[in-house]
Amino acid sequence: MQFSTAEVDEPIAVRRRWPDQGVSRVPYWVYTDPDLFAREQRVIFRGPSWNYVALSAEIPEPGDFVRTSVGDVPVIVTRDRHGVVHVVVNRCAHRGVVLCQAPSGNATTFTCPYHQWQYASGGRLLGLPFKKGVGGHGGMPDDFDNADHGLQRLAVTERHGVLFASFDDEMPALPDYLGPTNLGWFDRVFDGRELSVLGYQRQTVPANWKLMFENIKDPYHASLLHVFLVTFGLFRADNPSKTQMDSSGRHSVLVSQRSTQREVVGTDDIKRVQHDLELHDPRLLDPVREFPGAATVVMQTIWPNLIVQQQSNTLAMRQLVTRSVGEFELHWTFFGYADDDEEMTLRRLRQANLMGPSGLVSIDDSEVMRLAQRGAMIADDGIALLEMGGHDLEDTEHMVTEVAIRAFYDHYRSVMGL
């Protein structure tokens, strides 16, 4: 079978009407409507988009594979015996069994447990037992052609060790998809050096997936919610910073620069700051500059399922996996570079304390997403406000704006026909 990426019948735009004020408003039903969620799966995650699936460094050798998901479709990312990477849907073409359960491994064939149908790394059906019957009895019809019954394949692209896949075969090349500005920021971290995977952190968040993108595209909250960041000078609203989108608004990057000092300037953002707090073990935060330029925090969101995180020396891919309209999984793949020395590796591992399900920054975010979802679920006629920084969709040179969220919903509306 193949997923249709065709438009779906139900006329959502009729049932649901976006507020007249446009993208400076977000109706709460975008976080709670199961039909809308089903539509998002079809037109966004199974539609014309490049979904992050893995780092090439996770499957360095021929036969290596990892399991992951594109939207809520389980897929296997494989490297075949010739070193070519494939992404196939993890569902048997016979009767639909999810056939691979290992989170990762090395195999050049995949066999379904139910009737032992065997597939190649690229999804091709290699063979099935009793195809010709047994003792002249049974078997598949003469017109049965293995070629028609492989695992569904996705289009695959790789750039500097990062793997993306799409259900759409007509996708533009990744550089065109990202646009020049965001491509530049992408290449800043993925500069062609070999990556080394440090490990995974995974969590479920009881919130709609779009709240995660809102959160990362929202510099406004950082200096207000993340007391830890501000307390230790990692982020301040008055730090030099900027927000840059691609032309469609679907991708964006937030760039900021650590302040060199901690004195209190007269900004609003420090009400809850613990001025007296000092680290007992400074090794928890001993950032060193490793990238060209002054930026110390670069958070890039790549439509529709990826956040590339560079906070000081902790680097991670944050992959969104949608579970339901009210829940998503966040998979963090922490990495460094193959040429990191052990001291740098230890630094990254220690700074990882800031991120993930126990992250001294991200705990705050998970919690407000959870509470925002609860707010959205109260009733379906509420509306969120996105007016910080005005109503426009332009790049900015500061952090006091919700522009990247507006741009996100501008694109979302066009894709979803809302």
Partner: protein
């Protein structure tokens, strides 16, 4: 310098004798450990570790795949103190009430100074307005020493079984 990879043995470790350690005192250490965490007395809980103690919470997935990343990594009690400061002072989250059910505490290594132990844990969590539910289950892989006759953890690794953490892991395991 600190080991990059958690020294957790993913698999089973056979029982050894208690040696110079009293089984009852070890049990008391774990009981106090649970009681302090579950009462939210995180500062007092820090006292159960020696200054050089390392504390890690890590997913079984990373341990089994030989990956060095921990979910919480404290290379000293001081770093663990920084985390407690953060839990108490800087992090935003709804209150979690926990119950750490610790069972099957077993001696698995012994030398003149240190007793190695393993144990099972199931952590039950209660959130505001919700029923009590299982947050996580897993095993401990610990080292215990005696300081002036009082037992303390010189190293503790909590390995949780489910790769997926429900929302957040805030209260230490």
């Amino acid at each position: 310098m600190t080991a990059v990879v958690p020294v957790a043995a993913a698999g089973f470790r056979p029982r050894v004798g208690w040696g110079q350690f009293e089984a009852a005192a070890v049990a008391a250490l774990y009981d106090d450990y649970a009681a302090l965490l579950d009462a939210g007395e995180y500062r007092e809980w820090l006292e159960l570790f020696v200054a050089e103690a390392t504390y890690m919470v890590v997913s079984r997935e990373n341990v089994e795949r030989g990956l060095p990343l921990a979910t919480i990594r404290c290379d000293s009690r001081a770093m663990l103190t920084d985390r407690v400061d953060a839990i108490i002072g800087t992090q935003f989250f709804d209150r979690r009430i926990t119950r750490h059910m610790i069972t099957a505490v077993r001696p698995v290594s012994l030398d003149a100074v240190t007793l190695g132990t393993t144990a099972n844990f199931v952590c039950v969590e209660t959130l505001v307005d919700e029923h009590s539910m299982i947050h996580s289950a897993g095993s401990y892989d610990d080292c215990i020493v005696a300081v002036e006759g009082i037992l303390r953890f010189s190293s503790k690794i909590a390995i949780y079984d489910a790769p997926l953490v429900p929302t957040s892991l805030i209260v230490p395991l």
